[in-house]
Symmetry: C2
Subunit: 250 residues, 2 copies
């Protein structure tokens, strides 16, 4: 850092600093997203991500957890920092840098989120828009390298640059799926192997082989049997639970 004593931090213009949170959850075998309807300009009436300003005595991770609870009622969820978005004009109100986060909510806790009546500021679960697949995620290639295939410009679904933030979160989730046990964060404490498979398929956007999937989970000891079974319309299914580990890395 450039500095001469006594150092004056005010010599450099300071941006506003916010956090945004992409909350994923499974619902009816589909990946869903928790969004908030904006009640005021800019982007009035548009969906936006939960988020807000970072306070002076907290980390951005703490700010993300706090804003998530304030705006949606969610607490004690998996939360990780994703990427920092800093395009100078990303917010029409002024220079606002936002540190995006990704959160994962187990499917049996969908109702923990305070989803709205019809007031100005309601939260809502929406299925991940398919159009997000067409949005270029941030941070996957060399800045300054040959530009990637251009995709047709689209009408954004979300306020601000939240389309890009969601696309980036999805890319991160997919990338981590193979090497981590992150998927279990979207499942209840006890789950059937088919439920687990649905999570993988929803995130990857394609079918996976049943035998391979089951063997991988059991052989790598990522899951362990429980005594319980889940009963439904058909043959009861064994319930499994994630093997406790120190980190999410396999």
């Amino acid at each position: 850092m450039t500095d001469h004593p006594p150092f004056d931090l005010a010599r450099f213009e300071k941006p506003s600093l916010t956090v945004d949170v992409v909350v994923f959850a499974m619902r009816e075998s589909q990946l869903h997203l928790l969004v908030i309807e904006r009640g005021i300009p800019p982007f009035e009436g548009r969906w936006a991500l939960p988020g807000g300003f970072v306070l002076p005595r907290e980390t951005v991770e703490q700010a993300a957890a706090r804003e998530l609870e304030e705006e949606t009622g969610l607490k004690d969820v998996y939360l990780e920092q994703l990427y920092t978005f800093s395009t100078p004009d990303r917010d029409p109100r002024g220079r606002v840098v936002s540190v995006a986060h990704m959160a994962l909510l187990p499917m049996d806790r969908l109702d923990d989120a305070v989803v709205g009546g019809s007031d100005a500021r309601r939260a809502e679960w929406i299925a991940l828009p398919e159009a997000i697949e067409k949005v270029e995620p941030a941070g996957l290639v060399t800045p300054g390298a040959r530009p990637r295939k251009k995709r047709e410009p689209r009408e954004p679904h979300f306020a601000f640059d939240h389309d890009v933030i969601v696309a980036t979160a999805l890319a991160r989730l997919r990338g981590k799926l193979e090497s981590t046990t992150l998927a279990f964060e979207l499942l209840p404490a006890q789950f059937t192997l088919t439920e687990a498979q649905r999570v993988y398929e929803a995130i990857l956007g394609r079918a996976v082989d049943k035998v391979t999937f089951r063997r991988r989970l059991t052989q790598l000891e990522l899951v362990e049997e429980t005594a319980e079974m889940r009963r439904g319309a058909h043959r009861p299914a064994r319930l499994y639970q994630a093997v406790p580990r120190d980190s999410h890395w396999i």
Copy 2:
């Protein structure tokens, strides 16, 4: 975001925003790091990462590229955003949030960096300190989850929280090694397969099998033969080059 019109960004205290850059390069089969010696307090005399303040009309990625060139002379290198560090007291001068970046310099461009004589502000290539292995990288587990195995507190090598930043960059580099072709950014345009293997071994910190390594690179068509050979003290080695791709993901 919390807002009522007309919205006043100044309602919320703004932090200073900086960038820091971890520059990796190979040198004598070892992973090296570009650092700057601090000439003034705090942390006078300590090694620190190149970096500086973000200007109002640039992204953090642009700021990282600019500061890298200003402080070390390096330009046109692979550069990616890494993680945002925001512990409130990470800088004793005040509230400073820093967006860390990682850069990779090909081994034949080591001299592009302006490494110092003996003035107060010289840059230097140093071998990656082994003690970094003992530092917990940021951002790999759930905030709020069971704490990971505690490591003994150590005397930090670097100024500020730069030990953690370097450890995080190393973790990121290792994690990306398998699924990306990032390693080629540390190699010249033409290189021997053994040189490539040395890069992988230096990053992973362990030996890799020669046959498997060569087959993987050729079979996945990550590299292609050139007509040239490199001559040295022993049998000449075929030179290869990276197969051009749109992104670094395999």
